[in-house]
């Protein structure tokens, strides 16, 4: 029988630094909850809002797969590999930090905040050469469909990371139903509602709720509101 864990939006850790308003689904920085450390290889799910023109100055990462998904606004990224890019709403960026990388992330605009998800996944191999990829997603490919946006393979749809993980996103009409079949036996799926109301395997979820499910092979998804949006993250559990 499937096992589940429910993380209501209001139970997330929260830190408001003025320029940064951040909600943490898992322990991060000063938010420490021993019951909320990780979901399999999914270690960090931060829901960040950064003020106009502000951001994270140059800082390091290593041995972590870092995925950024802007939800509103644009993020200016610069890193020690020489990548300079704007990650726009509708894009997804993945950075394999490997042996080590420094980068900065700033709100590109001076007149509106940027809202984005930052997601960290443990890699399945340490000390790889750092790498970076970014793509623009076609929103039509996730209208009443699950669009794969991340995978372990460069040849598959989406960006790719150093871990056997697959991310999918969808935006659904009310009452639309579908099923997600796990790619790999033994994996778990962590669902994060980006907008609206969605039921997954009988569990009703609302905006910014997180729901983890494992020891199963598939999950059923039903949108309970118009334009409900969902991010599914399939990750190894061990």
């Amino acid at each position: 029988m499937a096992k589940t864990v429910l993380h209501k939006a209001s139970t997330r850790g929260h830190a408001n630094h003025g320029w940064l308003d951040s909600y943490h689904s898992f322990s991060f920085a000063n938010y420490y909850n021993p019951e909320r450390i990780h979901f399999g290889a999914l270690r960090v799910l931060n829901d960040d809002t950064v003020s106009e023109g502000r951001g994270f100055g140059k800082h390091p990462h290593d041995n972590m797969e870092i995925i950024s998904i802007p939800l509103e606004g644009d993020l200016q990224h610069e890193d020690s590999m020489g990548n300079v890019a704007v990650i726009k709403k509708g894009d997804i960026q993945a950075m394999s930090a490997g042996t080590g990388i420094f980068h900065s992330e700033f709100n590109k605009h001076k007149d509106a905040p940027v809202k984005f998800l930052q997601i960290w996944i443990f890699p399945n191999k340490k000390n790889v050469e750092p790498r970076y990829s970014q793509i623009t997603l076609n929103p039509e490919e996730r209208h009443n469909k699950l669009q794969q946006v991340l995978s372990p393979a460069e040849t598959e749809a989406g960006v790719w990371i150093q871990q056997d993980a697959w991310f999918s996103m969808g935006k659904f009409d009310k009452d639309f139903s579908t099923q997600y079949t796990f790619k790999k036996k033994g994996d778990g799926v962590y669902a994060f509602v980006l907008n609206g109301d969605i039921t997954i395997d009988g569990q009703q979820l609302h905006n910014r709720d997180g729901f983890g499910i494992w020891e199963t092979d598939s999950v059923s998804i039903t949108a309970n509101s118009q334009d409900a949006e969902l991010l599914l993250m399939e990750v190894p559990m061990t």
């Binding site: 322990s27 920085a29 420490y32 021993p34 270690r43 080590g100 443990f122």
Partner: protein
């Protein structure tokens, strides 16, 4: 009150500096760092540490060597892998180590990267 003594071994010098700075920003912790395996072993002989953080750039062989030597010398020593390079995970990892939560990191005790 005595500070918790933390030894950090990481081959990326800039990241090592960042980790040490972050550790020493906490008044309860004192960090000592090295990017050299043999120096790490020497430091461990010279000083009593409460925790060892293994950072990036260490081979599996080096990590296993350090673990064996450190545990032989001090069976109570806590050894954890630091992920993220001086990131927002650092304080969590240290707290988890002292809470004795082996599942705090993804497979923290046994080296998952063979």
């Amino acid at each position: 009150m005595e500070k918790i003594q933390i030894l950090v071994v990481c081959s990326h010098q800039e990241i090592l500096n960042t980790i040490i700075r972050l550790i020493n920003n906490n008044e309860k912790w004192n960090g000592t760092g090295t990017d050299d395996i043999e120096q790490a072993i020497e430091l461990f002989h010279q000083q009593a540490f409460d925790l060892v953080l293994l950072g990036s750039g260490l081979t599996g062989e080096s990590e296993n060597k350090l673990r064996k030597i450190f545990v032989l010398q001090n069976p109570e020593i806590k050894i954890i892998e630091h992920f993220g390079g001086g990131s927002g995970l650092l304080s969590n990892e240290i707290e988890e180590a002292f809470a004795g939560n082996k599942n705090g990191n993804f497979n923290v005790i046994d080296n998952p990267f063979k």
